[in-house]
Amino acid sequence: MAGFVLPKDGDGEVTPHNHPDLIDDRRLIRRISGDYIVRDDNRGGNRISSAAFKNDPRRGYLSVDSEKCITDKGADPVAWVTSPQWRGALVISVEHVRGIDPATTDKDRWLIGMVPLPDNGCHGAIWGKITAGQSNDLQRLSDWLVPIPGVEKLIPVNGE
């Protein structure tokens, strides 16, 4: 969004914020490294670990890509986020992410903003604690942007 200036600290690092472009049905992409794939004998196959979406605020933020930012640059989101090394990607709307956030007050809510990196101008971030259960819920509400053959994604419970 024109006019929005990323907040930065004295060292020039982007500080936690909500970016006005990342709202409602705008989508966030989470790249899925092959290192996140685990064996699940309960469900009979390979699945994505909850580690893919977990976050501990003491160790920074959860990285994502902004789909809108990518398309605004005229680029293809699939090509932007995948490579032989990062084989897959999930995509989820900001609205769904907000729906998982357990916070009851504004000051505790997850923050969803942009943290452009030298090699990824569409790099975004989610700040806040994301537990194993919330991570699995985020996975359930995500869709494959780039599926990984032979890997199952957790699916919504009760047909949500």
């Binding site: 790249r31 794939i37 580690a51 160790r59 990196l117």
Partner: protein, 163 residues
């Protein structure tokens, strides 16, 4: 960094209580070549099936490059992987299935078992800082991110069901 250095780098010896004997060589070898002439060689117990698998995986994870996740994640440190191995040595039985092990974007590792109707996850952020989550298929209340630091008995109790 040696394991001994790790021990002192992270915590004092009195805080170490995860049951791993740092002074022992846990490889499947006979030792004693440096012992007095009359001393009988000490035979270490055979390693469990899961140990070689886990050691290989942990070693592989430390070789990850920064940005392994497609963003800017650091690889797990040797301190973290050594701690993970020590925890497993303290709670695993020979017949316990090996966990899946994934790196985390914060530089830790997560150990996971999805078998026997249990979903068990131990997130290790750094040595002596971990969280246990367990979901049961039989309707028992889930354990959601129970902090574990020096005692991993609760993980051992859960894994008993899988051995």
């Amino acid at each position: 960094m040696s394991l001994q250095e790790l021990r002192y780098a992270e915590h004092s010896p009195t805080e170490w209580n995860v049951g791993f004997d740092w002074s022992a060589d846990h490889s499947n070898t006979t030792i004693g070549s440096g012992a007095p002439a009359r001393a009988a060689p000490i035979r270490m117990p055979l390693r469990s099936g899961w140990q070689a698998q886990v050691e290989a995986k942990l070693a592989k994870l430390t070789l990850l490059q920064r940005g392994w996740d497609g963003y800017d994640a650091a690889p797990p440190s040797v301190l973290v992987t050594a701690f993970a191995m020590s925890v497993l040595n303290s709670v695993m039985k020979p017949a316990t299935p090996a966990p899946s092990i994934v790196p985390t974007h914060g530089g830790g590792v997560q150990l996971e078992w999805h078998v026997g109707g249990l979903d068990v996850e131990l997130m290790i952020y750094r040595p002596f800082e971990a969280e246990l989550s367990v979901e049961f298929s039989d309707g028992q209340p889930a354990v959601e991110e129970r902090p574990l630091t020096t005692s991993f008995d609760s993980l051992g109790e859960v894994l008993e069901k899988l051995a």
